[in-house]
Symmetry: C4
Subunit: 370 residues, 4 copies
């Protein structure tokens, strides 16, 4: 039976308050917070709020399809669950709950390098699974993770390219955030480099862990190695500059994620939505373009599609749903996104996602609708 609080959620954003009521403060900040003064976190939202859609009328919307293939995977929605580490810190069922809910909703789930549940267990839920890769200092470990992901049936590798180091998340530093007991990066097994260190005040254990294992020397040249070690479609996550997008498309990557990591990396980075049109023009259809950073509703998904995205990754709202009600909570959030997107398509006169890409948009002035 569904928890009445979860059933009572009417928008994905409602889940944030429910999550705040159940999560320890440190975990809540780890989920909801961002880098620096959180300028980019707020700018991401402001970019969505000031973008106006121009609906069309008198097209038959008695049947509205939200379906699309992303990276060769049929999706009920143009949405995948974003890669998010350590989901067992948010709910005991962690990634398994989220992945099952993604499966129920017909959307892909992205398993993380820093997952608190193994990629094999995640894939066993039946969810279409993509694998997020951090470029590890230990190349052998990277190779092993790729093999495990392929063996588990993952359908894509998503290489994060905006995190040579972890961003400066001062709230986590101030609270000396450490993972709760029993939550660990299971892909690092019993190795010492995978055990979150005891940290002193002013340091985030998660940032220290990232610094220990992630290799900041990653360049374009390394993509050849990656191509040689996996046959899976390759996605680059964290591209904002159109020149990088052009180069990625020329290299033959299968998709880009236009993202500023939800404001968690470079505070002051361009809002992802503002970066999207130039990136979409630069790749000119040579690869798929996904977007994350700021999506909170189905209408936000429609705005991303209208600016040239093929789909989006959904992050924090999934974790808020997970905190609020485990698998049911995540499912409710994804269900609401679907309801909102379907309605927004109908109200914008779009029977399908192809029509959404043809909508006009107008950028309104900042602050007008805050």
């Amino acid at each position: 039976m569904t928890d009445p609080a979860v059933a009572g959620l009417l928008t994905p954003a409602d889940a944030e308050a429910l999550a705040a009521a159940v999560l320890p403060a440190g975990v809540e900040r780890f989920v909801g917070g961002a880098a620096g003064a959180e300028l980019t976190l707020r700018a991401n939202r402001a970019a969505f709020d000031r973008l106006h859609l121009v609906p069309r009328v008198l097209s038959d919307v008695s049947s509205v399809s939200t379906a699309r293939a992303l990276l060769g995977t049929d999706c009920a929605l143009p949405v995948a669950v974003a890669p998010m580490a350590y989901q067992r810190a948010v709910h005991p069922d962690g990634e398994l709950a989220s992945a099952r809910a993604a499966h129920d909703a017909g959307v892909p789930f992205t398993a993380c390098t820093f997952s608190s549940t193994s990629v094999e267990d995640i894939a066993a839920t039946g969810a279409a699974t993509w694998f997020q890769l951090y470029w590890l200092r230990d190349r052998g470990h990277t190779e092993e993770l790729l093999k495990r992901a392929e063996a588990a049936g993952c359908r894509a590798v998503m290489l994060t390219v905006d995190t040579p180091r972890m961003g400066r998340r001062t709230a986590d530093m101030r609270g000396a955030f450490t993972l709760p007991d029993g939550v660990s990066p299971v892909h690092f097994g019993p190795r010492p480099d995978g055990v979150p260190r005891t940290v002193s005040s002013g340091v985030s254990a998660v940032a220290a862990q990232t610094a220990d294992v992630v290799d900041p020397s990653l360049t374009w040249a390394d993509l050849d190695w990656l191509r040689a070690h996996t046959h899976l479609p390759l996605v680059l996550k964290g591209v904002l500059d159109p020149a990088d997008a052009e180069r990625a498309a020329a290299c033959g990557v299968d998709a880009l994620v236009v993202s500023n990591h939800g404001g968690r990396q470079l505070d002051g980075a361009l809002p992802a939505l503002d970066a999207l049109p130039a990136v979409a023009r630069a790749v000119a259809g040579r690869c798929e373009v996904l977007l994350d950073s700021g999506i909170r509703s189905g209408t936000d998904v429609l705005k991303a599609l209208a600016l040239g995205a093929d789909g989006v990754l959904l992050g924090r709202p999934v974790l808020w749903g997970l905190a609020a009600g485990g698998r049911q909570g995540v499912h409710r959030v994804l269900h609401l996104v679907r309801e909102e997107l379907e309605l927004a398509l109908a109200l914008a006169g779009c029977p399908d996602l192809a029509a959404a890409a043809r909508l006009r948009t107008v950028v309104g002035p900042a602050g007008e609708a805050g």
Copy 2:
């Protein structure tokens, strides 16, 4: 005798506070609220507030005329009462009070498909009456409504094209809004599809009703059927994209209403005022252009005229006046709009509405005058 509170209203916006004091919370939200996060509701107002008029001087304004014909109906003001459903939920006299006040003020009244008073009773008030049509799943019922509207003496049919489904009005959903006892959509008579259903938490009865009876498959092709079944002038309400406006004008419609349904349909839609100039250019005089969504004063009417509208529809302020004082309250609101418009015309150096269309405007930055 006039209620002192009503006589004390000095601006249409004053009526909102009076209405809030007398309406049940659910009805107040149903009237004043909008879809989603109410971004478009606020953006509508912000668009008016940041538009600056450039007055002219030294033209004789000893006599200022606010008169104009709209859709062949002589109007004392370039204003009509917008179609608004279920006005008996706001005041026991409902549509009859509003229509009588419109008649007193010399402006047309738009009777609704979802009216709580019959179109015949409304027209019998003597008000110039237009009939708002939702495209019903039951084509026979649509035909019957058209015949009734014509027989009652309605002077135009206004087809709503922005509501294939009702927008997601979360406040109504959260409160599980249902119509008060004794208020019903009388054009649906005793039929089961016309009776608002008992609804469970998280659902708006009014939205459920809309989904039951409104046909979302309406397209441009259906306008031929409509033309064949009525000789009345045809208005399309809810157009924002200039390409739709161009097509409508080419189809020979008599008027458009540039509208986002007061922010009650697609949250995130372009403010109607921002959409107006491109729509007016697109139709280039081939049909009349009306505007609604955000009008709160006579100066707002002048701003719409300066951007190319022939007239406006006035919505929520009428309902606030109705709540505050029935027929007298609506009359006071319309009287204030007239006083404000006449004064604004004089201060802008415009002896008539034709001069208003030649005023320069300047879009100021957002938030400057909030």
Copy 3:
């Protein structure tokens, strides 16, 4: 001896708080308030706040001159006291105090049609006096006022062209503002049309008075009559549209005042500062260009000069100074404006007002420095 509170004023804006402490609420609102929702009142200030000056360096500013002739009158500052009615409502000494302070400060004083002190008494203070004219329904009275102004030694006639009717000042209406006992429009003598009427709630006595005596039929053609009845330089006050400015210059007027009447007439009118550049370009030096509406400091004066004004009129700050300390209060305000302007010129690298006109400006985004 100077009142310590007056001596402690460090900016003209400081006087507003002092005035609020001594004025009756109705008079304070009459002075500080504006029309409608006061959008234009706030927009006037926002326009100044978002205009950035680009200072020059390394020019000798050991001596800075703020002097300029305006309308043939040598002025210590490029500032005149704006025409403001009924100054005896603000302080018992009324216009005499303000005019003496203007004389002390070396700036012209503008006597009003609706003055509470006669133009002869004002001129007798020795202040350089300009005469503000409302176009009266009684042409003989107009002629008489012009003769009196000339005979009293006034040096210019400033015809107000933005007030065919008084703006809708809802605060005055709500409070049914009437002039204090003993304060009356003395230029109307004992005639009935000059006596402020007892008014009922919802009406401003001052607005009623204006409607009684001001002729809204004034047009360009009437300027010929005016030219024929006075040899004084002619100023048109209240011009915002560049086409009106062009016509005025072509007609040979001596000066324009770019003004929205401090937001007291058409609420929603363009901020005067935003209107200034196009007006200055339109007249192209054929007549002088003054500005009012929003000036609160010497730096504001410099901003107006940098956008093309020859000088400014100072309104509300003078009345605040008058309320705070009579002649001393006004003098302190004018002294502070001079100190601020002289310093701003020095810091901007301008030894004189001609250099100020060559400063670059940059319009910043709204709200940035609010």
Copy 4:
């Protein structure tokens, strides 16, 4: 041992609150306040907050260099401590503490004309020292200061060109700010003109001092005299107009500082960051371009570099660190700026400062991220 409060600072801005807790109110205002209504103070920050960086990806950032030579001095960071007077008012160790911390951090320190510690004592700390010069009415004194600076080993002379008079800092005036006992401008020795005067209410002693000794007649021609009296590299501080920048570059100055003096001179002046691109284009590499006014973090440094600066001067954060913890406090602030800059470079894909200059930027709307 480091003070735990100082060690707990996680951003330079954190030091402001610590400083507020220890400084007398008058000193706190003298440090943190600015001229007039502080429009420019706030606009400086808003300019940084609305500038978005577009990071690059997949460049090897395993090693990030923040080093650069400025004015021939090797610097660990593209940062120098800005000239700030009377540092002994902020902490008993005054300039010695700041200079030692600058030395520890590998950045130059700028000694002031109005220093409370002699340039010789400052230079003896070992810090790379630049000397800030006010153009004194007493030319002999100027010459003597230049000789002392050269003899002490200073490596550059920074002539302040935006202060012919001191700006109108109303908070200091209201509080009749005077220097604490025992703090004096030591370069003026026992001469009467160097002793801060007792001042009456409404006057800042520091402003009076400046008026006494600074010569406002300084022009471009005087640079020849300066060139003839020192062999040190010459920097002009306080340039905002590109025409002044062009002239300075043509004159052969070694560097400019694009600055509005932290909002302490002309209130209403253009934000320094907004002035930077045009100045950088105007000098076109002929001299170095530094920036101050608004820098609060390492990311702000990166934003300045991306818009064309070679380096920045850091002001108030240094004084806040000094107040919070003397030398340790300043060192912590400089350390944090370095950590933030290094991280920002890595996250923006820049292995060095040359790459930073090639970053794209996008100006977002105002207020969006406030």
